[in-house]
Amino acid sequence: MMSEVCASVFQSRVTPLDGPDKITGAARFTFDVTLPGMLHAKVLRSPHPHARIVAIDTSRAEALPGVVAIVTGADAIKLPDPYYGVAIRDQPVLAIDKVRYFGDMVAAVAAVDEETAYRALALIDVQYDLLRPVATIEEALADGAPLLFDAPVPGAPIKLGDGVISLKEPRPNVLYEFGYAKGDADAVLTRSDHVFEDRFRFSRINHFHLEPYVNVARVTGEQIELWSCNQDPFVLRDDIARIFGRPTNNIRVNASYVGGGFGGKSFCKMEPVVVLLAMKAGRPVRLCLSLDEGLLTLTKHAGVLTLRTGVTKDGRLTARKSEIQLDGGAYSDASALTVVKTGYRITGPYRWDAVATRAYAVRTNTVPAGSFRGFGGTQASFASESQIDMIARRLGIDPYDFRRKNLLAIGGPFSRATAASTATSRAVSMRSSNASAIGGSRGARRKATRRAAWGSALG
């Protein structure tokens, strides 16, 4: 077994090149970027999970000394394309007609300092017409559930390979659906000695990167410049160009050290708001969210995964039918892609006679879900590997032997369609050393007006 393990050409330990900067405090993050004349922005967020915006009055905030620019959905709707999202573009730069989750961005203020911006937020009057929220997957899919979107949104289904179903907004409150089948799973299950159906629930977590979301924007003539903590500068460049209707070569995105991302800083989020403010103010604008607001910006997908798995009496896996519901939250972000990847990965590294997978993202009035390290693989692994263990124990087979018996062979097709690389199959031989290693040692939820009274504190 160990003979397979070849040494890397890179043998020696190295001192990381970013090390000297990071241990001396010299490392510059986007968090540290300042520009001459720069203003500071803060965002007013919805205190309701689901409501229609009746009116926004910014006049009292505008009158506050130190406030330079305020933007709302009324400014957003004038943009050439005020929506973003991966493949399906349903998230407005700022809430336009409705708010769809507690924390949805309603307005933003640029002022001479953060304190003033916070105080201005408290002076913005928003009238809401409350709507019934859908908080969970079950509520969203129930008959007569309130709809998050009244009409189809811009975008298109993801282009995938042969024999795969890829549907944008197939049903009410369903953002995207992925379907995939090889063989006749129903027939194989009927013939199987045992069929087990188990349901798993996956929770919602936040990235909690310690560097908050932070962006600085400067608009000079036709050029838009961004200093962004975004993990995807080119994707962001194209989004900004599209949203603001400018040629792509007039957009310049600068990246520095990023203080943690884990997927949370992938794809466009609050960056257009910063650009919009900089445009309106005619001055550079910095928007640094608090970590509270970070918790209201993006999560990993919660989900309910139901697996129906067949097995012969001697412990050979036959077929798996999966239904995967991911809670996409209020807006698309990267949900469609995550659905694809979760659905694709649900079969795990095993051999099957047939598989059938249906995976979809459900819209709920909660924080949007998107990229998070693992990208659907974590959800799929939890459900699949729990059930594999359950089946083994039900059949009285050692879970280790059960896995070993059913693992893909070297070069075998993953999910019966993609050639698995040899490395996957070598998993088989490596588990033994892993197991022996163990055996051997056995023994703004706070008010959006946060800091509003801060300025007056202590006179």
């Binding site: 405090g25 968090f31 990167h209 310690l210 608090s290 970590l291």
Partner: protein
């Protein structure tokens, strides 16, 4: 009406006489007035420890401390840890053990470890884990940081 407050504070071995508004926060004072941007603000509410600086040798949360409280104290930030271009033994250990990833928590973490080793010359595993409880690192699993602490303790003993 409360007026600004005169304070005398030594930061990284240099003494400053400052006139600070009563609600001025230490993190803002360090970052904006003294350009010591190694003091990072993560949570801004005393939870994450990214803004940790040393006040009279003890770790303190710069985001929830008033500047006036520094009167008469000596403050050490990450910028003041190395002397004449020579890294502090804790910094060297962090570098050699790759005890960081994104680096945002690193200045606070290093200062916290310095204080730990000033108080416990040869801390055991549990003492280290408990002490590091003050500093969140979302990237590493603290393991390499703990290895760096052991290495720095050993280096200091030699």
């Amino acid at each position: 009406m409360v007026t600004d407050i005169d304070i005398t504070v030594t930061v990284n071995r240099r003494t400053y006489r400052l006139n600070v508004p009563p609600n001025r926060i230490v993190a803002d004072l360090l970052r904006e007035d003294l350009q010591l941007t190694g003091c990072k603000i993560g949570c801004d509410q005393a939870v994450c420890g990214a803004c940790t600086v040393l006040v009279d040798g003890l770790p303190m949360t710069a985001c929830t401390t008033f500047a006036f409280e520094l009167d008469g104290t000596a403050v050490t930030t990450i910028e003041g840890l190395s002397k004449e271009g020579t890294l502090h033994s804790v910094q060297r250990a962090f570098l050699e053990h790759s005890a960081f990833q994104c680096g945002f928590c690193t200045p606070g973490m290093i200062l916290s470890v310095k204080a730990l080793l000033d108080h416990h010359h040869d801390p055991d595993e549990m003492t280290i884990r408990r002490w590091l409880d003050a500093n969140i690192c979302r990237c590493t699993a603290y393991q390499m940081i703990i290895e760096a602490v052991h290495a720095a303790a050993k280096a200091a003993a030699e």
